[in-house]
């Protein structure tokens, strides 16, 4: 019996509840201590995923839409069991509620790799499921939304369907077996039909059995197919609403600046000139900085520049030399954790050092939120990956009780981990308090967004290894980075216990079986704000681990793709490499071009990527890219393809030209001209192949990123003979 079965027995008490004019379907919590998310609507302890009322069927998506298509797939899970007409499906983001906890996220946080399905790992993961509930982690991240919702959403759909059929049977006097459902209606044998909406109130009174059987995958009509995304029309006609688009009567516009040395204080400021700027209205102090408020965002940005300010100097003037010295010192010292230990390492013939710089999220929509404090009640509109925490932080900043906060989760103009942070939420709530009862829109400038990020840590690694008989005979990877968890714990006010598993993420769980294999994680001094960045530790460790393997293949005189495949122990991983070789026509490359391969097993998904490059008079051009990945079960191929290729572009951008650097405690980059994501002309055609080994279902928002950097670096080696061990690559080669 798999883990899903255990969860179903233990905690899915399926139920329904009547609400005004309709009914909600979902499931009751394992213990009923969690506050009900739609209080006041008569829902008891139900966690609702489906609402049916006079206007039709609405799916409540418990996860946030930041571009990854999760609303579409979560809705499809419900629609599949409930026989809805896809074009009529509506999706709403659920309210912040602990009942929408994400058990999958915390499960992956335990120090066992997802590859490890052994008894110990399973028990630990299951044990983590209960605390996750009580912590109330409603989080979108870690590629967990689909694994978490795969059962819950389908069960909610199935139970709703059953209740509607029972209601229809009662009303018509027919037996249930004679009734069918299709297109949002119950069909009677004589050709007549009843809409779900008209049955809703009666369905709420139906006695429900244990969880119904879910449909087998070979009976799926929607799942497994590429569906039109529910947000696509609104994102093509300008009507999709992001937090920065919220407009309220009498709204004022604000922008902020904090001490450019992260964490250092504001000493004093003089706002005289700023207030004299046409349309300027207020300059207000905030934590470590201030806000300018004006009649337009532009006037606020202009006024902000006119504020005379004196910043405190940072305790330590962090710069690149210090960051490198910290990382070296960590590697020279004892490891804080060991992810792999087998055999022993002695007298290696190959030794190399690799490094990567800090990275910014640079979401296309800079941070911001709308907020309105009126009569002791706060309304807040924001795109957030962590709504339960955001609600609590907003309440604190505005000085109201959490139940006086109404939180609206908007579409996010990119998340990538940045919108799990609370700084912009706190700022907007503080501004609403200072300006009450006037509503305020906070919009960060791109410069503020670049300077005040929580960065992907800089990292460094040493590899010591040998080859014998065409294979790796020993391999030691020592990887070092600052601690995201330590940084986060400081910001969120929780204790950081034990080793930080993100430092080793992607380094220890690669599916190889070298006879002597050691992977150690070293924690470096954490001096600048660090955060989760798409694929987290995998993003640097894939570069270290996989580039070293590529070098060893060369040393052993074996084709690099075969070299990896032959030493793997995990069949789906071998199969994605085979698939990548096939779709990229690996063996045959046009003259003047070369291919490189990258592989990483992350978030339970093996992904192989191939990049082809060409030397041109303008520099190196990327002429093709191929991705093969296996998420276990593929629910929506079009969304998966978009996420994998988008994830690869994200990884390639960083590898080619992404670097956040520090000087005198400040970030040196300020806008897209000096932190420039890949542009359209640089983007190669990308071919994606999705494999389905049928294992446990996995999320796909992140696994496309890690193999990109090694694939490109290895391709550049194949083309030029030059091994580049330090990112970004454009410090060593020119790109066209």
């Amino acid at each position: 019996m798999g883990r899903a079965g255990k969860i179903a027995r233990r905690s899915f008490l399926i139920g329904s509840a009547a609400l005004v004019g309709g009914v909600a379907f979902g499931w009751y919590q394992y213990r009923k201590e969690l506050p009900n998310p739609l209080q006041g609507q008569g829902l008891g302890a139900l966690t609702p995923y489906v609402l049916i009322d006079a206007s039709g069927v609405t799916v409540i998506a418990p996860r946030a839409e930041m571009g990854q298509g999760t609303h579409t797939t979560l809705a499809a899970l419900v629609a599949e069991e409930l026989d809805l007409d896809w074009s009529a499906v509506r999706v709403l983001h659920g309210p912040p509620a602990q009942a929408y906890y994400n058990g999958s996220l915390l499960r992956e946080g335990v120090p066992f790799a997802p590859l490890d399905q052994g008894w110990l790992a399973e028990t630990a993961r299951d044990a983590m499921d209960v605390p996750a509930r009580f912590l109330g982690l409603q989080v979108t991240g870690g590629s967990t939304s689909i694994p978490d919702g795969f059962e819950k959403m389908r069960l909610a759909g199935a139970v709703a369907r059953l209740a509607l059929i029972r209601a229809a049977a009662r009303r018509s006097g027919l037996v249930e077996a004679d009734l069918r459902t299709e297109g949002g209606r119950v069909l009677l044998p004589d050709g007549a039909s009843l809409s779900y909406a008209e049955l809703a109130v009666e369905a709420a009174a139906v006695e429900l059995p244990d969880p119904p059987e879910l449909r087998p995958s070979n009976a799926w009509k929607l799942l497994g197919k590429s569906l039109p995304r529910t947000d696509m029309a609104a994102k093509s006609d300008g009507s999709a609403r992001y937090a920065c688009d919220v407009r309220l009567p009498g709204m004022v516009f604000a922008t902020v600046r904090r001490n450019p040395a992260p964490g250092a204080a504001l000493l004093r400021f003089d706002a005289k000139e700023a207030l004299a700027f046409p349309g300027g209205r207020d300059v207000l102090p905030l934590e470590n900085g201030f806000a300018a408020v004006a009649e337009s965002s532009w006037a606020a940005m202009q006024a902000l520049d006119l504020v005379q300010v004196e910043w405190a100097a940072p305790d330590v003037a962090v710069d690149e030399a210090l960051i490198a010295a910290d990382l070296r010192a960590a590697l020279d010292g004892a490891p804080e954790a060991t992810a792999r230990e087998q055999g022993e390492i002695s007298a290696p013939e190959f030794e190399a050092e690799y490094s990567v710089p800090h990275q910014a999220h640079a979401t296309m929509e800079p941070m911001g939120a709308a907020a309105w404090l009126q009569d002791g009640r706060l309304q807040l509109w924001a795109g957030t990956q962590f709504p339960t925490m955001a609600l609590a932080e907003a309440a604190k900043a505005a000085g109201v009780a959490p139940d006086a906060v109404e939180f609206h989760t908007e579409f996010m103009g990119g998340g990538f981990g940045r919108r799990a942070e609370m700084d912009f939420i706190r700022q907007a709530a503080s501004l609403a308090k200072a300006l009450s009862p006037v509503p305020v829109l906070l919009s960060w400038s791109r410069e503020e967004d670049m300077a005040q990020d929580m960065y992907r840590p800089a990292a460094m690694a040493r590899v010591r290894a040998s080859v014998a008989d065409g294979a790796v005979s020993q391999f030691h990877l020592a990887t070092a980075a600052g601690s995201i968890i330590e940084s986060l714990a400081g910001r969120f006010g929780f204790p950081a216990l034990g080793p930080d598993s993100s430092i080793l993420q992607g380094a220890g769980e690669q599916p190889y079986d070298f006879p002597n294999y050691l992977v150690t994680g070293h924690r470096a001094e954490t001096r600048v704000p660090l955060g989760f960045w798409r694929s987290v530790g995998n993003s640097q460790n894939a570069f270290f681990h996989d580039c070293a393997l590529d070098e060893l293949a060369h040393l052993a005189g074996v084709d690099p793709l075969l070299f990896r495949m032959r030493q793997m122990t995990h069949l789906p991983s071998i199969q994605v490499l085979e698939a990548a070789a096939e779709i990229s026509n690996w063996g045959a490359t046009a003259p003047g071009r070369a291919k490189g391969v990258g592989f990483c097993y992350s978030f339970g998904v093996p992904v192989a990527e191939v990049v082809e490059v060409e030397d041109t008079p303008q520099g190196i051009r990327l002429t093709g890219a191929w991705i093969a990945a296996d998420p276990g079960i593929a629910l929506d191929p079009s969304i998966i393809e978009a996420q994998l290729s988008g994830g690869m572009v994200f990884g390639l951008s960083a590898a080619m030209q992404g670097a956040i650097t520090f000087a005198q405690g400040r970030v040196e980059q300020s806008n897209f001209w000096d932190y420039e994501p890949m542009r359209m002309r640089q983007c190669p055609p990308i071919t994606v192949k999705i494999l389905q080994s049928g294992g446990e279902i996995r999320g796909i928002g992140e696994p496309g990123t890690p193999p990109a950097a090694p694939a490109l670096a290895n391709a550049i080696f194949a083309l030029t003979g030059k091994r580049i061990r330090h990112l970004p690559l454009n410090r060593e080669v020119r790109f066209a």
């Binding site: 995304r229 994102k235 337009s296 532009w298 006037a299 978009a642």
Partner: protein, 152 residues
């Protein structure tokens, strides 16, 4: 007070003439489909058409606008969505969607000037429009599909 022709309507704003068109649209007129991404002509999220030509509205003071402005909200005609918007839906281009108004308006300007662009011409015209989600392959496919559809 400044009056402007936007999406076939005459609208007016009290915001000062130095205010970039972007912020007049977004904060003054409530037309929020046009987005801010950088403010320095480096991302294209703010692209609109002025007299059929794609321009970066973050760089254009509203007092210097000479001609009719079309934003994403005004791109659809009496016959419904613009062929580019239809192609965007058909190709399922958007991810987070934040850059897409600017992408579509830039492409609209391109097709107006050059209804049958080559791949190289598309890449050149679109190079100033960043997409952090990396939707580039589908943006290219959608522009080609729209161009073919418009040729009938």
């Amino acid at each position: 007070m400044i009056t402007l022709a936007v999406n076939g309507q005459t609208l007016s704003t009290e915001l000062p003439p130095e205010t970039p068109l972007l912020w007049v649209l977004r904060d003054g007129l409530g037309l929020t489909g046009t987005k801010y991404g950088c403010g320095v002509a480096a991302c294209g999220a703010c692209t609109v058409l002025v007299e059929g030509e794609a321009v970066r509205s973050c760089q254009l003071p509203v007092g210097e606008v000479n001609g009719a402005v079309t934003t994403i909200e005004g791109l659809a005609g009496a016959e419904g969505l613009h062929p580019l918007q239809k192609a965007w839906v058909a190709e399922q281009v958007a991810q987070c969607g934040y850059c897409q108004s600017g992408q579509i308006m830039q492409a609209a300007g391109l097709l107006m000037a050059n209804p049958q662009p080559s791949d190289a011409e598309i890449l050149e015209a679109m190079d100033g429009n960043l997409c952090r989600c990396g939707a580039y392959p589908r943006i290219l496919a959608a522009i080609k599909a729209a161009s073919a559809a418009m040729a009938g």
